[in-house]
């Protein structure tokens, strides 16, 4: 099991046995692609070639694939943190979206401050998203409401509010898009691999992975968070303030989602476009589940998800299938993973009842 961990970093990477479930899911999903291609395409071999090799064939596709993984890494980290503490954050959609909007608006407002303004705007966005998730944690601490439900509901409402703000008060009338104004040039991250939109946000994502890993396995707070998640009765007995580890991990989870949204603005989109982040929140959840909530495994899991999307996009352009093939494959993954999670939950329940 993934939880059999200790504070040493020696086994930051899972053993083969631990990851066999995830590998199996990946294989089943990919065979899904093959089957679908034969069913849906008149030229299955061409479709498959573009699906599997398309994302790797040139700098443009490859860069965009890596770029697509960045918000998924942030989201996957956020979910992993929450899950490690025994909390569920289903509000990623609203958190990433509102974080991105807050970052955009403050970036516009703080433009004169230069780099300081950029950093400030980024953190304000993260705090907004963290606050939303933290609220669900607070409600659970206070009244024992299910954070799974409240984070989902709050997020759904927030998405609508952000939609309104983008289409209403903050819309840029000068473009044909439903979007805010673009952030200043000086705030945009340098492009790494032109002509793709891959930016240096990638490095920030990798740094985030390292920081979360260190936090979880090297610090006292991370230790207490994991102990609370593994067995909260033991944690309480041992003198850990378990109430704190309902709110804090939820806040951090939203915070990471907010950072993901902010970096998407700074690196890729430059303005909050209506529903630009739709799906990123859910995919972040799937990434964390494939990664078994291990920060180091979030990177390959996010790449896998991004690869499927890039492959579908490439197959769609060069062959006769539609982009929905990506959605189908992702839902297969989602389905398999949730059933695995449910299975382990069920096992646990049966063992302790």
């Amino acid at each position: 099991m993934s939880e059999k961990r200790n504070p040493t970093s020696k086994n930051a990477f899972p053993t083969l046995k631990e990851s066999i479930g995830s590998l199996l899911i990946v294989l089943i999903a990919l065979s899904g692609v093959i089957i679908l291609s034969f069913l849906l395409s008149k030229t299955p071999s061409k479709t498959l070639r573009y699906f599997f090799l398309g994302p790797l064939q040139n700098a443009y596709y490859f860069g965009n694939m890596l770029n697509g993984a960045i918000p998924l890494i942030f989201g996957g980290l956020g979910i992993s943190l929450a899950m490690r503490s025994g909390n569920f954050n289903l509000g990623g959609e609203g958190q990433i979206y509102s974080g991105a909007l807050a970052t955009t608006l403050f970036a516009l407002y703080l433009a004169p401050l230069g780099v300081v303004g950029a950093i400030l705007a980024l953190f304000i966005g993260a705090f907004v998203a963290g606050g939303l998730a933290g609220l669900s944690g607070y409600l659970r601490m206070k009244w024992d409401t299910s954070e799974l439900i409240t984070s989902f509901l709050i997020s759904n409402a927030v998405v609508l509010v952000v939609n309104y703000l983008i289409a209403g008060p903050f819309m840029d009338p000068s473009t044909s898009l439903i979007a805010t104004r673009k952030i200043p040039e000086s705030f945009r991250l340098p492009v790494l691999l032109p002509p793709s939109s891959l930016s240096t946000a990638l490095f920030f994502a990798l740094v985030a992975v390292i920081i979360v890993h260190i936090y979880l396995y090297k610090t006292k707070s991370g230790y207490q968070l994991r102990m609370t998640g593994l067995n909260s009765r033991f944690a309480k007995y041992g003198g850990i303030n378990t109430r704190k580890f309902i709110v804090l991990p939820m806040f951090l989870s939203g915070f990471l989602y907010g950072l993901g949204g902010g970096f998407a603005i700074y690196g890729t989109y430059f303005s909050s476009i209506k529903e630009f982040s739709a799906g990123m929140g859910w995919n972040g959840l799937a990434v964390a589940l494939i990664a078994k909530n291990k920060p180091s495994m979030v990177i390959p899991a996010a790449l896998f998800f991004s690869y499927i999307e890039a492959g579908a996009r490439s197959a769609m352009l060069h062959s006769d299938v539609t982009f929905e093939i990506a959605a189908i494959v992702q839902s297969i993954v989602f389905f398999l993973i949730s059933s695995e999670v449910l299975f382990t939950l069920f096992e646990k329940k049966r063992r302790y009842s």
């Binding site: 504070p7 090297k218 006292k220 009765r233 309480k236 850990i240």
Partner: protein, 513 residues
């Protein structure tokens, strides 16, 4: 006489700990009688009844119901054979009415598919009236008292045309009046030809209600007796058995002994239950002394443990530690003020099974963490390995503690708690499930703590343990202190004598310290 149940040579071993819970048990129940199944905790009473009710499988033996040999593989089969069981913990849906709970699974139907709620209410009301119970079918279960909830459970079984009814410790949560009402209902049922089995260890109740009594001890059947032929003392002696002696030196309280933990008139209530879990409990734990709390389960030992551990608040009264008020400050705060505590539930509370041994060791510890919030990895490994060696525990720092044996897990917990104790330490059921050698180890540790001047509080339902190592003994019965013994008095106490206090047959006068 016609036999309702006949069990022959039933043997059941729990593979987890290789414990023989039932060892060649012969058991019979006559039609229309009330039979009490008596024994201490862990005697195997509940296991035997679970076998009869299809909740546990057995390796050997046969079961005959009304003369026919049956294979009872699940409670469903048991129900079909007319066997019902009322568990100690009720299984009711709080937000449903009495009627909805009773008919659950066999709801009356209208037009073949629709749930006929009206009919359910009238049918259940009929059943209630027929058996002279005091509830009504349209009452919400949430609003019932514990005694009434129990009636719902019984009606639930009777509604299913059960004529062999098993009740597991039915009086634990009831008040005296509720017990009387229950007993008169049960006698009514017996008169109508139902056969009843009561699992209990309360002697007064055995005498009051049963026709026959079966006594079990440590998985073995000691005998079946006509209740009119035996008295409470005889049953008590059978249940308790002979003492095994482990030698531990005792200490005398000296002038240097200081009060460490003082509990002043603490009372604990539970919502929806009339009888307090603890009532006006007074005691002081002194330094250099092992204070033992004895009692049969359900009489307040577990509650006392939860109070000392900070898991449940007291409703009234005060707890002082070295003169400082520590009433209701919560576990985290208690820990900071020096609580060391070996809990009875070592697998769910005392350890985190999926976490590594070292992660289990360093919880709540300060040395292993640096000022800047990081873990001092070298210190953690060193500390853990030192402790494993000092307490001669087999295992490594990195392995998940859940892969260790029960005895070794307990050693890790002991090591952790003994290392952090300041002036008092609480042990609850410290040797439960351990073999003799491990138990001896635990006792030696406790004695050495006592000799170093610790105030040791032992909470145990194991009488041998209490008598072997306590310097002073307090007996709890139904949440109150019914007796206490100091010095020679405690040392010369016989098992039978203390057993009588535990079972509520005897009570000391209020003047006793």
């Amino acid at each position: 006489m016609e036999l309702a149940v006949e069990m022959r040579n039933i043997t059941k071993t729990y593979p987890e700990n290789n414990l023989r819970a039932n060892d060649g048990i012969d058991f019979s129940l006559r039609k229309g009688e009330i039979l009490c199944l008596a024994g201490e905790n862990g005697a195997g009473k509940t296991t035997l009844m679970k076998v009869l009710y299809g909740l546990e499988s057995h390796e050997k033996g046969t079961i005959r119901i009304r003369g026919n040999q049956e294979n009872i593989s699940s409670p469903l089969v048991a129900n079909r054979l007319g066997i019902g069981m009322v568990h100690q913990h009720f299984m009711l849906v709080e937000d449903f009415t009495v009627a909805q709970n009773v008919v659950m699974g066999i709801e009356p139907r209208k037009y073949g598919i629709a749930y006929d709620l009206k009919k359910a209410v009238s049918l259940v009301n009929e059943a209630i009236a027929h058996h002279h119970f005091s509830i009504e079918a349209d009452m919400l279960v949430r609003n019932l008292t514990v005694g009434q909830k129990q009636q719902v459970e019984i009606i639930k079984m009777l509604y299913r045309d059960v004529d062999i009814l098993i009740l597991d410790e039915p009086t634990t949560v009831l008040t005296e009046l509720e017990i009387e009402a229950l007993f008169s209902s049960l006698k009514q049922l017996a008169k109508r030809g139902k056969s009843l089995i009561l699992i209990t260890h309360k002697l007064k109740e055995i005498i009051a209600i049963s026709d026959r009594v079966v006594v079990m001890r440590q998985g073995k059947m000691l005998g079946t007796y006509e209740t009119k032929d035996v008295n409470e003392q005889q049953i008590s002696a059978l249940m308790m058995g002979k003492s095994i002696s482990l030698s531990i030196k005792h200490a005398k309280r000296t002038d240097e002994s200081q009060p460490v933990i003082e509990c002043k008139k603490i009372t604990v209530l539970r919502q929806g239950q009339e009888r307090p879990l603890l009532k006006d409990l007074n005691f002081t734990a002194y330094s250099g002394e092992i204070l033992g709390f004895a009692g049969v389960s359900g009489n307040g030992l577990g509650v006392l443990e939860a109070v000392l551990g900070g898991f449940i608040p007291v409703f009234d009264g005060k707890i002082l530690h070295d003169g400082n008020d520590i009433t209701n400050i919560g576990t985290a705060q208690l820990r900071r003020q020096g609580l060391a505590y070996v809990p009875s539930d070592r697998l769910q509370i005392g350890s985190s099974l999926k976490a590594s041994v070292q992660e289990n060791i360093i919880v709540g510890e300060s040395r292993s963490f640096r000022k800047n919030g990081f873990i001092d990895q070298r210190q953690v490994t060193k500390h853990t390995n030192d402790l494993l060696e000092k307490y001669s525990t087999k295992g490594t720092a990195q392995m998940p503690i859940g892969t260790m044996s029960g005895g070794n897990i307990q050693k890790v917990i002991l090591a952790r708690e003994i290392e952090r104790y300041q002036d008092y330490i609480v042990f609850s059921e410290p040797t439960w499930g351990l073999d003799i050698a491990s138990s001896q180890f635990v006792y030696e540790q406790m004695a050495s703590l006592r000799d170093k001047g610790a105030a040791v509080i032992l909470i145990s339902s194991n009488l041998d343990e209490i008598l072997t190592i306590s310097d002073r003994i307090i007996v709890l019965y139904r949440g109150t202190r019914v007796a206490s013994f100091v010095g020679d008095e405690a040392r010369n106490l016989s098992k039978e004598e203390i057993g009588e206090y535990m079972l509520g047959i005897r009570k000391q006068g209020a003047s006793h310290v």
